[in-house]
């Protein structure tokens, strides 16, 4: 037995010396070699194999991975580069791009048009997918996980668009990059049904007009969607939730104009919607609930329209920095539902007969002193607001002339105190009654 084992060791050792790892891998053609021999329009089926290389695709082919196909980059540049129109990359795992931010390295970098990247997984890379100066690409069903070995500010973005238009970005899951999806000078893109979590900003958006975001889920980022210096954005049916940090928000509009923001769910954020220097935006049918601040609309934002929104159970429903509000809180006779409004609706038409007027003294404190957010959880906040209302010190008035009925399905933390006091009294009463009864029996 010992002799047999010794013989096996000798043979295996001899094999390792004579056929080192690189030589054995050579038996498997590299992707680059396969590409060199492929004809345009050909489909290349990769094997269950880890390919150690950076790949540059410069002809219109389809590359399909098997169940466990991995393209492991050299760590010195982009792992997969698409340099020709009409390429399809499908079902591969891409790892280990270079990590120098100045060079914008990516797991998959696309310089060409009309490509499709489908069902890929991208890990340990700077940017996930980088679209550079191109048009008409489709990114569908990809999973992008940010490089957790880097600090968040040193990571790249999940999907990065630079001068890239008419793309479809759909059903992707992006987790733990710097920004989930980053737009810069990119127009007419359609972003649907993506799940974007654990980033600095879920959506970071600069100088990009006419893009559509539909049914995406932004959660547990530092900020949900930061939309800046852009016009004509459409946000419909998206969810923005669990952005709790001291300076977090569901949606931020900074110098963003003429956006349509409709039927979105915005809840459990530090601020639901924050607006500065953003004009003529249209908000309809959004549900803005259980945020610390529902709406923070600075007076630099004017001519915005709010109709049919449900603004419910936020610790502060509305705040502003200073000055007069110049926005419309009712459009064509339909205002918004406010959970802190006692609706009187004698004609039962669904619209209140009494206007909703909101004022907040603490909103002004918040606009001047950012540390004010520390007290948004405080039980004393309600007392502070009520007291200032009594002495007439409140500011930041808005008026909704046609508020609508509230459809309640929210959690009201503020009313817990009262409930608990009632509950305590009930329990104490029960115990007292029980003791009395025992005494009588005794």
């Amino acid at each position: 037995m010992r002799k047999q084992l010794a013989a096996i060791f000798v043979i295996v050792g001899f094999a390792f010396i004579c056929f080192p790892r690189s030589a054995m891998a050579d038996e498997q053609a590299s992707i680059q070699e396969l590409l060199e021999t492929a004809e345009p329009g050909e489909s290349i089926q990769l094997e269950n194999h880890v390919y150690h290389e950076d790949v540059v695709i410069d002809k219109p082919v389809t590359i399909k991975g098997a169940e466990n196909t991995v393209i492991h980059g050299t760590g010195d540049g982009n792992v997969v580069t698409l340099n020709h129109d009409g390429i399809t990359l499908e079902n591969v795992t891409v790892k280990n791009s270079g990590s120098i931010l100045d060079y914008d390295y990516a797991g998959i970098k696309i310089y060409s048009n009309d490509n499709r990247v489908i069902d890929t997984t991208i890990e340990d890379s700077l940017h996930g997918i980088y679209l550079s100066e191109n048009t008409g690409n489709e990114l569908i069903g990809n999973t992008i996980i940010g490089n957790q070995q880097l600090t968040q500010s040193s990571r790249g973005n999940g999907i990065h668009l630079f001068h890239s238009s008419d793309n479809i970005i759909r059903n992707n899951t992006i987790d733990g990059a710097r920004d989930g999806v980053y737009f810069s000078f990119s127009e007419d893109n359609q972003v649907d049904r993506n799940r974007i979590t654990n980033h600095r900003y879920g959506l970071h958006y600069m100088y990009s007009d006419d893009n559509t975001f539909h049914q995406n889920e932004f959660f547990e980022n530092t900020g949900g969607a930061a939309i800046m210096y852009s016009d004509n954005i459409t946000l419909t049916g998206n969810q923005f939730y669990d952005h709790h940090n001291l300076q977090s928000f569901g949606i931020l509009l900074q110098t963003a104009n003429d956006a349509t923001i409709e039927n979105n769910q915005i809840h459990f954020n530090q601020k639901g919607i924050f607006m500065d220097q953003s004009n003529r935006n249209f908000f309809k049918g959004n549900v803005i609930t259980n945020n610390q601040i529902g709406l923070d609309v600075w007076n630099s934002s004017i001519n915005n329209q709010f109709t049919g929104n449900h603004i419910l159970e936020n610790n502060l429903q509305y705040t502003t920095n200073d000055g007069e509000d110049d926005n419309e809180w009712s459009v064509q006779g339909t205002g918004n539902a406010w959970s802190d409004h006692n609706v009187i609706d004698l004609d039962e038409d669904g619209t209140a007969d009494n206007a909703y007027v909101h004022t907040s003294a603490f909103g002004e404190v918040l606009s001047e002193q950012p540390l004010g957010v520390l007290f948004l959880h405080s039980p004393a906040l309600t007392i502070y607001e009520k007291w200032n209302e009594l002495i007439g010190k409140e500011k930041g008035t808005i008026q909704d002339p046609n508020p609508i009925h509230v459809q309640r399905e929210t959690a009201s933390i503020a009313s817990f105190g009262l409930w608990i006091m009632v509950l305590t009294a009930g329990i104490v009463g029960f115990i007292y009654w029980r003791k009395k009864r025992q005494q009588r029996r005794g």
Partner: protein, 270 residues
């Protein structure tokens, strides 16, 4: 001796019905939160629920812990068990420390079990349950309860009369829940950059703020990376240090003062 005291505390705690009140309040208030989230048609993360349960608990848990500590100590004096214990050769220091430990040993498991029971339906409400998040919450709640129990112990050492004690407990509770925050909120507009450190120190002197800050950072509700200069200055110490400092300060101060005041009144010769 310590075990005897724990057994005695358990009997008193059980008989006083405070056990039932505490457990029922915890369970019902937490279920109330869970129920409200359960009927929402939107995803709710566990940490969101935990934050709400914590905010709810802040209303009543400090009050109950203070009541428990205060009345337990006051009863020792009123029933004259304290002079008897002291006559057996136990010092004031030993008595107060053992009293605190035995109260701690009874009250904390009770609330822990109550919160565990309270969170049983959480699985159906939240997408996923993380043991670490819940453990951090339990730890925070325990520290909060321990601090207010020590404060209660001090109140019970000072005052024996029932009505005065109740008034003082409510006063202390209102101070920590409302008054401190109101004062800080009125101070806030005049806090310049140079004053942030002082504001931070005063803010974190409140046990509720210190525990909440610790919990929120651990739950990633507050992230301490990439903060502005203002917040950098405000959060000048790590949450662990803030919590430990606050707990040591309040518990140490309350127990130390209790010992001092009991000695000064010389309860052993009552």
């Amino acid at each position: 001796m310590a075990l005897v005291m724990i057994a005695k505390e358990w009997k008193e705690f059980y008989r006083s019905s405070l056990l039932v009140i505490t457990a029922v309040l915890i369970v019902v208030s937490a279920w109330f939160v869970l129920f409200q989230y359960g009927v929402m048609e939107v995803p709710v993360a566990l940490r969101t629920g935990i934050v709400s349960v914590f905010q709810t608990s802040v209303y009543f848990l400090p009050l109950i812990a203070t009541v428990y500590g205060a009345f337990s100590m006051a009863m020792e004096k009123n029933r004259r068990t304290l002079p008897i214990v002291l006559a057996r050769g136990i010092t004031f220091q030993q008595f107060v420390l053992r009293k605190f430990i035995s109260l701690f040993a009874i009250f904390l498991p009770t609330i822990m079990i109550a919160y565990i029971i309270a969170m049983i339906p959480a699985k159906t409400v939240f997408g996923s349950l993380t043991v670490k998040e819940f453990a951090v919450f339990l730890f925070s709640i325990m520290v909060l309860a321990a601090i207010f129990m020590a404060i209660g112990l001090l109140l019970g050492s000072v005052i024996s009369e029932k009505l005065t004690l109740i008034g003082l407990i409510i006063g202390i509770w209102l101070t920590f829940i409302y008054l401190i925050d109101l004062l800080l909120m009125y101070w806030l507009p005049s806090v310049a950059m140079d004053d942030v450190l002082a504001f931070s120190i005063v803010y974190f002197l409140s046990p509720i703020h210190a525990v909440q800050y610790f919990l929120f950072v651990q739950l990633d509700v507050y992230r301490l990376s990439d903060l502005s200069a203002l917040y950098e200055q405000f959060t000048f110490q790590s949450p662990w240090l803030v919590l430990i400092f606050n707990a040591v300060l309040w518990i140490g101060l309350a127990i130390g003062l209790s010992i001092y005041l009991l000695k000064r009144k010389d309860v052993s010769h009552d």
